[in-house]
Amino acid sequence: MIQLDQKIEANEVKLLANCTVGIGFSYTSFQAGLESKPDLVGCDAGSSDGGPFLLGSRRSKGGLTIERDLEIMVEGALRKEVPLVIGSCGGTGANAGVEKYLALVAAILSRVDKHATVATICAEVPQSLVISKLHEQKIAPIGAWPMLREEDVQNSSAIVAMMGVEPIVSALKMGANIVLAGRCCDPAIFACVPLMSGIPPGIAWHAAKSIDKGYLATTDPTKGSSIMAYVNRDGFILEPMKEDVACTVATVARQTMHENPNPFAIIEPGGTIDTQSAVYEQLDPRRVLVSGSEFLAADPYTLKLEGASQIGYRSIVIAGIRDPRTLGDLRRFLSELRVLVDRAARSMKVIPDQYSLNLRVYGRDAVLGELEPEPELIPKEVALIIDVVAADEDTATALASRASTSGNRLDLFGGLEGGGNFAYPFSPRVIELGPVFRWSVWHTMTIDPSELPEIFPIELHRL
């Protein structure tokens, strides 16, 4: 064990990782990591978990927490002359997010009085490319998603492709100090430097996957520790940079399985991390050594596509219900309310397929829906969310408003006597949530690797 440990220290690449731009990390642990002169600082900035809104509305995430995290990483990386790679800029990795991050980095550089060569890598794909790939039958659904139709592509307000490691390697070879990547798989942020150093791909990718959520691989994620991977040809060691947290075999192995369908086969752009032969060893109370993983190159090469399209506008009303008589027969109450709303819609000449009414009952089954194991329990109080999605905002708001007044006055059990059923916590009652989106594209696209530079164009900015 000690021998392997020494071997790794003798000929290693050091990768310093934080979790996600904007959710914070321990400043002192990051500075401690910089002191041992890493070969790369990396951090992811995006996710599709939040749903299709950001991508569809072509917005991107910014704000003070993002600026704080970025500034510490930009300043530190430049001071120590270490390349910095940020993936999925702006939250979705669409072009607007990359541009926003470029502007943020430019402002930071002038604040800290430093210069840098910044590479941007865009990841939005034009509809024409996706449609021509569709005609060539090179688009396949992921999981049980439906087959892609041309209209899904045409209705998408944005489509991004998730890049692997190749565009980042190219940007670093072009001399970038800072790489701002569009949509990017998280491990590619970290796999680039070890792969450039000749580390076997199985080791490089598994090391990258282990640190791509930063402090989630430690015993106490709330401490926000930066994490270091020491990688060489034989394996990698993980060590948290904060003294009072540890990496254990369980915390590291659990990071490998995080958010993936299969812990033994983790699909990345260009191949699959095969962890079946991985060995995790506890070196000392704070460090774990991992070896043995393989990387199975994909043939043909596929990229994941994400696209979003608008389906309408949403307006909601939040109403509290506390009266035991209403709660005792809530299903009947809500189905009566639905009848009233449908009737009102007809009187307003809104046809049924132009709106949806979703009555979400928090306190009963709003979180689990049809999977709720105890849907018949009578709650003490509930929050009813009247959720209307319609083709235009005026219709959504009119129907939500009508559902609210009709439900408030619905005297199903007698004796309402001009009172009301709904306790409203907010004024205004009707809350307009704006445009609503769906995932219109959730597919893979087969390409030839020679197409990568065109799909993920790199631009250098000397700032």
């Binding site: 192995a253 689990l368 999977l371 194991p373 995932w439």
Partner: protein, 117 residues
């Protein structure tokens, strides 16, 4: 059968929430929901992996048993269960669609908690 010890009778009564150290759920992209069951001991891990049947998981998530993936990841003292995301909201193939109740999928482990193990 008559000579069952108290421990044996306890064994029959326990649910997943009592045996596992933690159970969490998350999206594995928009196509799958993945449920991670963490244990404190190898004994608990073996007990759960022996008794966790795809058929019963399928009933909890209203999916076909053939679509339930179960992996024992011993080095993490964990079991991963992956099911298609599309039936969870009852809205067809549409994670993140207008009927979505849990975009990140982080509260969808609850139906597993009371499976007898």
């Amino acid at each position: 059968m008559n000579n069952r010890s108290i421990a044996d009778r306890d064994y029959e009564r326990r649910n997943l929430r009592d045996v596992a150290n933690a159970v969490k759920s998350s999206n594995a992209g928009a196509s799958w929901l993945t449920l991670d069951i963490f244990c404190s001991t190898l004994e608990d891990l073996n007990r759960i992996s022996t008794n966790l049947e795809a058929k019963r998981v399928a009933q909890c998530y209203h999916v076909h048993a053939d679509d339930v993936q179960i992996y024992v990841y011993e080095c993490a003292l964990a079991i991963k269960v992956t099911v298609p995301r599309h039936n969870i909201t009852g809205s067809g193939v549409a994670a993140g669609d207008i009927w979505e109740t849990d975009f990140d999928g982080v509260q969808q482990h609850v139906p597993l908690l009371d499976l007898s193990i």
